[in-house]
Amino acid sequence: MRPSWLLISFFSLFIVIDIVFLCVHNGRRAEFDATVPSLNSLVAQMGLSDLALSTEARYTRHPALTDPVAPFMDHIGAIEHFPSGSFMAPSSVRKVGMPNE
C-alpha cells in the first residue's frame, strides 16, 4: 500500500469522525433550540440579564448590570481577581464573604 493512500485513509477516517461529531453537535443544538422559546419567555418574565454560569460574586452572575464599584460591594477582598480568579478561588472564600466581616 502506498503511503499516500495511508494518508488519505487517515484523513477520511478523521472526516468520518468529524461528521459524526457534527451530527452529535447538530443534535445538541436542535435539542437546545427546542428549549429556547420557553427559556426566552423565562428571561422575559423575570428580566434576567445573564446566564448563571458562575456565581462567585454578583458581578459575574450579572456582569451586564454592574457598575464600576460593584466588585467592592461583595466584600473588601473581592476586587476583580481575573485572571487569577479563573484558576483559583480566593483562599478565604468560605470565611470572608460577609461584607461586615
Binding site: 419567555s41 446566564l51 485572571p83 464573604g97
Partner: protein
C-alpha cells in the same frame, strides 16, 4: 491515472517516507502542533458556544430596565415611580422587581433572589419546572428554587428551610417547585419568591423595589422612550436591552481575549521553532537534494516535496487537533477552559455547554495555525531547493 496527479502522488509518497524516516523528530513536531491547535480550537469553540448561547437566550431581556442610583450606587426605588412613567406614550407594561443576592454563610455561596408579583406566567405549561408548581399569588413564604440551590441547601426532600434577615431573625420558606434541568443555564442559582417576601427577607422599606422592567410596544422606540424615562426620574439608570446584550458579549470578549493572547504567544513560539527546524538543514539533507536534482528532479519538485512535507504535518495536526477540540467541547464540556471563562464559584452551576461549531472558527484556527506554519517553512524549503545538482559530483 492522470500523469501529473501520479507525479504529485509520487512526490507525496517520497515526502511521507522521508517524514517517517525521521519519525521521532517529526512526531514531536506533530504532537506539539496538535496540542497548540487543540488549545486554540477548543478555546475558540468554547467562546463561540457561550456567546452564541447567551445571545440566543437573552434575546428577550426586558426592553428597558430602570434602576435608581444614589451616590453612584444602586439603591432601592419606590414603586410610586411607576406613576410618573404612566404618561409616557408607547410603554405597554411596567413591572416592579426585587433582585438581590443572598449570601448563604454556611455554604459560602451567593444565591440570586428574585422577587416578582407578575403572575401572568405559566411555567408548568412551558415545561420549565421539574417538580412542584409555580408561586401562588395568595400565599406567602413560597419559593421556586434552581437546581444548584436545592443541591446546596441539601434539602433532600424537605420542603421547609430558613434564611436570615439582616437583623439575624429567621424567615422560613416553603419550597413549592424546582426549575427543570434544562433551564439550569438561567436558573441554577435562582430563588424565586413573591415581591413581598423578597422585601421582607432583605428588610427593605415597604413599597420599595430594586428595579422596574418596562415593556415597549414598538421596539424601534426603545431609545427615545429610555431617554424620556431618564428625564422623568432624576438619578436613574436606564438600561436598554441592546446595552445589556452588548455588555454581556464584552465580558467574554475580555476573558477570551486574555486566553487568546496566551495561546497566540505559544503559537508564535511554535512557528519560530518550525522556521528554525527548517532552516538548519544538514549536510545529509543537502546531499539528498543534490542527488535528487542530478537524477532529474526540478527545483520545483524539490520545493513541492518540502512543501508537501510541511503541509502533511500541519494538516494532520490540524485535523487531529480540531477533532480533539470538538471532542473536548462535545463530551467533556470544555473542562480545560471552563475556569478561564467562568471563574471560580462555590455554587457551581452544572450545565452542559451547548456546542456551537461554525465555519468561521474553523477558518480562524486554520489561519492562525496552518498558514503561519506553512509560511514559516517556505523559506527553508526554497533554500533547500536551491542546492545545486553538481554538489554531489
Amino acid at each position: 491515472m492522470n500523469n501529473s496527479v501520479q507525479k504529485q502522488l509520487n512526490i507525496l509518497d517520497y515526502g511521507l517516507q522521508s517524514l517517517w524516516r525521521k519519525k521521532f523528530k517529526n512526531l514531536c513536531v506533530f504532537f506539539i502542533f496538535t496540542l497548540v491547535i487543540f488549545l486554540l480550537a477548543s478555546f475558540q469553540c468554547m467562546n463561540t458556544s457561550l456567546t452564541r448561547t447567551a445571545e440566543k437566550l437573552l434575546l428577550t431581556v426586558p426592553d428597558i430596565t430602570i434602576q435608581q442610583l444614589s451616590a453612584g450606587r444602586q439603591t432601592a426605588m419606590s414603586v410610586e415611580t411607576i406613576k410618573k412613567l404612566g404618561t409616557i406614550f408607547g410603554i405597554t407594561e411596567i413591572n416592579p422587581r426585587i433582585w438581590g443576592y443572598y449570601f448563604d454563610e454556611t455554604n459560602g455561596a451567593n444565591y440570586t433572589v428574585l422577587g416578582t408579583d407578575d403572575h401572568s406566567f405559566a411555567p408548568l405549561q412551558l415545561d420549565l419546572l421539574e417538580s412542584g408548581q409555580y408561586l401562588k399569588p395568595e400565599e406567602g413564604g413560597q419559593v421556586v428554587l434552581g437546581q444548584a440551590v436545592v443541591d446546596n441547601l441539601a434539602l433532600s426532600g424537605r420542603r421547609y428551610f430558613s434564611f436570615f434577615r439582616p437583623d439575624l431573625t429567621l424567615m422560613s420558606f416553603q419550597q413549592v417547585g424546582v426549575f427543570a434541568e434544562k433551564t439550569n443555564l438561567l436558573t441554577a442559582d435562582l430563588i424565586l419568591m413573591s415581591l413581598e417576601d423578597a422585601g421582607d427577607l432583605f428588610a427593605m422599606q415597604k413599597g420599595y423595589v430594586t428595579d422596574l422592567l418596562v415593556t415597549v410596544g414598538n421596539s424601534n422606540e426603545i431609545q427615545t422612550i429610555a431617554a424620556k424615562i431618564a428625564e422623568k426620574i432624576p438619578g436613574s439608570r436606564v438600561l436598554t436591552s441592546a446595552q445589556i446584550q452588548k455588555t454581556y458579549q464584552a465580558i467574554f470578549g475580555f476573558r477570551s481575549g486574555f486566553g487568546a493572547a496566551c495561546l497566540l504567544a505559544s503559537l508564535a513560539a511554535f512557528v519560530i521553532l518550525a522556521f528554525d527546524k527548517g532552516l538548519g538543514f544538514s549536510k545529509e539533507d543537502q546531499r539528498e537534494v543534490g542527488i535528487l536534482k542530478i537524477l532529474g528532479w526540478q527545483t520545483g519538485d524539490i520545493m513541492r516535496l518540502r512543501f508537501y512535507e510541511s503541509l502533511v504535518t500541519s494538516l494532520c495536526a490540524f485535523v487531529f487537533g480540531m477533532t480533539l477540540a470538538w471532542m473536548h467541547i462535545l463530551f467533556f464540556d470544555g473542562g480545560l477552559f471552563r475556569p478561564v471563562f467562568l471563574g471560580w464559584s462555590v455554587l457551581r452551576p452544572s450545565f452542559d455547554i451547548v456546542p456551537f461549531i461554525q465555519l468561521q472558527d474553523i477558518l480562524l484556527v486554520f489561519a492562525f495555525s496552518v498558514l503561519p506554519y506553512l509560511t514559516a517553512t517556505i523559506i527553508p524549503a526554497w533554500r533547500a531547493s536551491m542546492v545545486r545538482a553538481d554538489t554531489v559530483i
